[in-house]
């Protein structure tokens, strides 16, 4: 059973590798992110607005998880992702991030559910 699943997954990837699907079928997400420091040290409150890049319509009905990585140390600070809560107007989300140090972080916004996409936002966290 598991083998079949693996094989079909492999076949699926194989097909996709050689014949890419037409890009137009997918929604392309766009995000605006603003992070504010909280009272807790190294903890940030991030407000995220998700829209469809083509129509600028708010993206709703998706699950948004936020992770972070430091570009200057790839793979080193792979924080456990947090699930963002939908809040306020449609397409608005909020996530609390606990970072390991200040500096430049690449926020990974993973969108799953009705559509699947990833948006990376590079932000500087800290005093300057």
């Amino acid at each position: 059973m598991k083998k079949t699943a693996m094989l079909s997954a492999a076949a699926f990837i194989g097909i996709n590798l050689v014949f890419p699907a037409a890009a137009a079928q997918n929604i392309r997400a766009k995000a605006d992110v603003v992070c504010e420091p909280t009272k807790e040290n190294l903890t940030y409150d991030c407000k995220i607005k998700l829209v469809d890049a083509r129509t600028n319509a708010p993206l709703t009905g998706v699950t948004l998880t936020v992770g972070a990585d430091m570009p200057s140390m790839p793979g080193v600070h792979n924080l456990r992702s947090v699930i963002a809560q939908a809040q306020g107007d449609p397409g608005n989300y909020r996530a609390i991030l606990e970072l390991e140090m200040t500096g430049v972080w690449a926020l990974r916004l993973d969108i799953t559910g009705a559509t699947r996409d990833r948006v990376v936002k590079v932000l500087r966290f800290g005093d300057d």
């Binding site: 040290n41 200040t102 300057d128």
Partner: protein, 299 residues
């Protein structure tokens, strides 16, 4: 023409501190014949201790300088004990990788001490720039130049006029022969790390005092600048280190003046690369001998 002279003078000022960084690097390389990647981070330990005293207690430049030098020397000793002293001869790559691991360790320890990205660092001297006709000279830069030269003279005296310096030169020249004439090689190595890190620490203090700020990137910066200046000047040579530092400083200054800040680093690496490819012994050194000490072969 006026710009050219001004840029060259500016380059010489910075080049002096590069030269000091390279002297420290080269002293360590001379005795252990391998690369201490933790050299810059040891200096960073000193720099952060100094900054801590400045930020927390408002310590003055003199006290900060002492803290930077002492902190760097202690960190250097720690690195020697952990990464180099226990390694049997030949484990070149292992001790180098070990020094890299300690780099990570020291860096994180300092980030825990001072977690913000940028901190202020006390200035060496304040005052308006002096104008000589079309040229300007910042008093703190001039002071840095004087202090750098003084440090160079002190280091020179230690190397050529003291018993420890003789031991250092003998170990650098030929480690086994140094053993045989009765030099305590282990002590000399430890001393070399302490001295080199202290010199590097002072160079770091001068640079930071000019910039008046410190970031966690400083450790890597010091390693890279020291390494480039050392390699350009010729591995294991103290006069070469000074010359390499000056060449690097002047060329960087001109590259920045002519093209821009990114060209500055690009030129530095290009110079290093060309130097290694065309003249591996450096501008002032001899061509490298078939030295097996630094090679994964003999691990």
């Amino acid at each position: 023409m006026i710009d050219f002279v001004q840029t060259t003078v500016d380059g010489v000022m910075v080049g002096c501190s590069y030269g000091l960084l390279a002297i420290g690097f080269t002293l360590i390389f001379g005795v252990i014949r391998r690369l201490n990647l933790s050299y810059g981070p040891s200096i960073m330990v000193g720099a952060y201790l100094g900054t801590f005293l400045y930020v927390q207690f408002g310590a003055g430049p003199l006290l900060v300088a002492v803290a930077v030098v002492a902190g760097a020397a202690i960190a250097g000793i720690y690195v020697e004990r952990l990464c180099f002293a226990p390694m049997k001869g030949g484990a070149g790559v292992a001790s180098m990788v070990s020094s890299f691991a300690i780099w990570m360790q020291l860096e994180q320890a300092m980030i825990l001490l001072l977690p913000r990205h940028t901190y202020a660092f006390p200035a060496l001297a304040t005052g308006a720039p002096w104008e000589f006709g079309p040229f300007t000279l910042r008093p703190d830069q001039l002071l840095m130049l004087i202090l750098a030269i003084a440090t160079g003279i002190i280091v020179n005296t230690i190397i050529y006029r003291t018993r420890f310096g003789t031991g250092l030169r003998l170990v650098t020249s030929n480690q086994i022969a140094a053993h045989l004439v009765g030099v305590n090689v282990r002590n000399v190595m430890l001393g070399a790390f302490a001295l080199a890190s202290a010199v590097g620490g002072f160079a770091g203090f001068l640079v930071l005092a000019i910039d008046q700020q410190v970031t966690p990137m400083f450790g890597m910066w010091a390693t890279i600048k020291g390494l480039i200046a050392m390699m350009i000047g010729g591995l294991g040579s103290v006069p070469g280190a000074i010359a390499g530092g000056l060449v690097l400083g002047v060329i960087e200054a001109h590259a920045q003046g002519l093209v821009g800040p990114q060209a500055r680093d690009l030129t530095a690496y290009l110079l290093l690369f060309l130097c290694l490819v065309l003249r591996p012994g450096g501008l002032f050194g001899k061509a490298p001998e078939a030295d097996g000490a630094f090679s994964s072969r003999s691990t």
